[in-house]
Symmetry: C2
Subunit: 514 residues, 2 copies
Amino acid sequence: MSGEKFRAISVADFFYKNREIAGFDNPVRATYTIVRELVENALDACEQYSILPDIRVKLIDEGGSIYRLKVEDNGIGIPYEQVPYAFGQVLFGSKYTLRQSRGIFGLGGKMAVLYGQITAHSEVKVTSSQGGYEKYTFELSINIQDNKPIIRRKEIKPNPSRWRGTIVEIRFEGDYARAKPKIVEYFKQTSIILPYANLFFIDPDGILYRFDRVTNVMPKPPQEVKPHPHGIDIEMVKRMINMSRSSTLLDFLVNNFHRVGYATALSFLKSIKMDPKVDPRNLKVEELVKLVNKMKEYDKFRPPDAQCLSCIGTDLLRIGIVKEFQPEFVAVTQRPPSAYSGHPFVVEAAIAYGGRIPLMPPDEILVFRYANKIPLLYDLHSDVTMKVIKKINWKNYKMDLTTMPFAFFVHICSTKIPYKTVGKEFIADKPEVEYEIEWALKTCARQIRAYLSKKEKINVMQKRLSIFEKYFPMISQYSMELSGESKPPNYEKVIRRLQSHAKENGERSIIKVN
Amino acid sequence: MSGEKFRAISVADFFYKNREIAGFDNPVRATYTIVRELVENALDACEQYSILPDIRVKLIDEGGSIYRLKVEDNGIGIPYEQVPYAFGQVLFGSKYTLRQSRGIFGLGGKMAVLYGQITAHSEVKVTSSQGGYEKYTFELSINIQDNKPIIRRKEIKPNPSRWRGTIVEIRFEGDYARAKPKIVEYFKQTSIILPYANLFFIDPDGILYRFDRVTNVMPKPPQEVKPHPHGIDIEMVKRMINMSRSSTLLDFLVNNFHRVGYATALSFLKSIKMDPKVDPRNLKVEELVKLVNKMKEYDKFRPPDAQCLSCIGTDLLRIGIVKEFQPEFVAVTQRPPSAYSGHPFVVEAAIAYGGRIPLMPPDEILVFRYANKIPLLYDLHSDVTMKVIKKINWKNYKMDLTTMPFAFFVHICSTKIPYKTVGKEFIADKPEVEYEIEWALKTCARQIRAYLSKKEKINVMQKRLSIFEKYFPMISQYSMELSGESKPPNYEKVIRRLQSHAKENGERSIIKVN
């Protein structure tokens, strides 16, 4: 009986064979995914360094279903020696640290290169500079079987203007006609969450989609943090012990974990009866297992803080929404930081009403979902946000989703977004995340209710006023005749006072709730 | 301005950090996934070699959320030298060839090992033999950072009974109480599609779930095939040229592609004006791109055949369904082979009616989905099968899904199942697949309609008969009196003839449609 043929494949080969799991199912989806991955890398190269993003994207139809995509950013640039690996080796990247970023998988950009290579035999052309005296251009492809970059050509040129940024060019087999709605929607939704970015997109028909910066304010970039004790596992702690220079368990805990001070570490070790002075390298396997399990359970560690996150903030979120929809009213909120399995996250949400928000057909709800500033355009109905929206009884907030124009916005930022797929399509329903989204939306809904109540009150007042205005002349005429006076009483003053009272009252309340 | 920290991670590290995409979201899901992955490997080790599977699974609760799983098969066994890699190196395996198998990703088993290691600091213990004089036991873990196996212990023992098979033991953090419904369902559904397998599962409560073999007939194992010209890409053809010993393009095409003969290859090359005698290694890049693109488009290649597939077949599918549900009627069909993007696939389907099939609550439909003999238990509503079931107007087939007990079965087998996720949860809606499922279900539905019509007819006949039986005595009495006879005519014979006619007619039609 013959044995089986065993062999190993490289990770590039794995993703080459299973490209649909990274969003490369077919030419339509691939067109969208390639644009998105390269734009996200471009945005990360700016935002992580507090650079106001200027992103220029051009997609050219070269015929025969082949497209050329060019994405240019003004970001930090890629160091000369790293360019080949950053584009030609799957699972090589700068995003494996513990802070919020778009591209946690170290995969998207290389998948774009790989897809271009296998569908159009394309090399990727990368020009970059970090603002020094030189800029450099590489033409690369990936040796898929070995997961190694192949440099086809490189060139170094002077950089007299001290230009800084990265330009990526790639050819691939695509289908813009059918991908167009998603791609344009992607840019539109991105511009809402990033009102401080300039986004230019020239499509194959020569149409320029232009989303201009409307503010120079940027959220602060995320800081790298140590892992939280609730988010660890045995593998991670073993690695940390190997890397650590701490000679006692106490020092090891304090030096390596997020928000663990000496007092906390001491009382934790006391509670599990472990010696604070033991060298962590000398822990037996059972002790290590015990340590890790107890750390995950101990409920007196301080919760993770949000310095590793870069939220949009209520002001920027409002600016983005107003820019796009000019709504009659917008309620915005940011929840305090929370955590699931030791991963900190923050939920921001908004509900906008009226203005240019369209009234949706019955059974449809206008929802904008973002994860670490990435718009999520697919699989809305599998997403936790939709689950929450369906759960809330909106009538309690005077909101009738079938007859009134509302738009919902939910942004979750985290060091680890609980995506269900590599394609970053929708968010799993972790209970902690669900809870925060629910309360964020309910907070907004209360503001909406307050606004709608005041609006109702003003309407009632206005209606009453118009009745006064209609009947006062008659009443005054009648009283004049009754009393035998020759001139009617001056009611104008009363009406003016009522008018100004109504107006002031209404405005004040609108300002207050907004 | 400081640069970013760049580094590479191993593929084991990637899946360690992103384990939720392989179905390891949480202890509940992980418990189910680990059981499933190890059972599937066990089944593949039998079926690929025409061995009737005997699979024994035991899950033991060791307290503190830690479980020990033991899976034993009577399969082909793993060669001694390969054991460490087969369990300790991600993306190493025997399933990277072009034929149907359950575990196309080379990932599931190692993810189970990895998960056990990070949650319970477990090593995997593997005992195997290929039926020789020795059996061997390894205790292994994975060096995640390097994606290499670490052998903790190994032992070789004599194998006097010439036992053949593999035993895998692993410990992990799980939650059986909550995973139990899915796990039991998994075994039940697996036993339906594999009526030739013995499956024993002893759960942590000591309950034995036993699914016995009811037939010794097995589908023929799949054959390895060459790639079809419609399923290729540039990377693949480049690799094939490098491996090939053919010195002309004509020979290269004939020797390396599925169902391409000399006549077809010649007329293809003529149609694209390429020289059949050119050495494929001398092709220029543009020529290679042209060759590949034209091959994908050329519509005169013969469609892929199904020898690389291992379908269940209508007989086995019927046996499995009858064993589990004893339905009043079951309609079974197998579609002819089809292909999407050059990947051959076959759809088999069944609709069962009555018997032990429960009547579902409104809005619920009893659907059993299988892909390469794997039951799919999650995300029914994202699956293409559900899309098709919702599309078909069942009333046209006399089927009222709200008041009549039906169960639907759909099995797709392919060299490449179009899963949307690594977690193998649901099937993407490729148009070709959707078409085949629709026609398979409609074929079954026509059989159901024929059965229900006959049943109706028999009912009508029976009713008519009972009217005859009631009135014939009166009529005969009356005619006797009218005609002045002293004895009524003998109508018994007429009724007996009608009875036998109705019975025969009904039975014959039932036998015919089934």
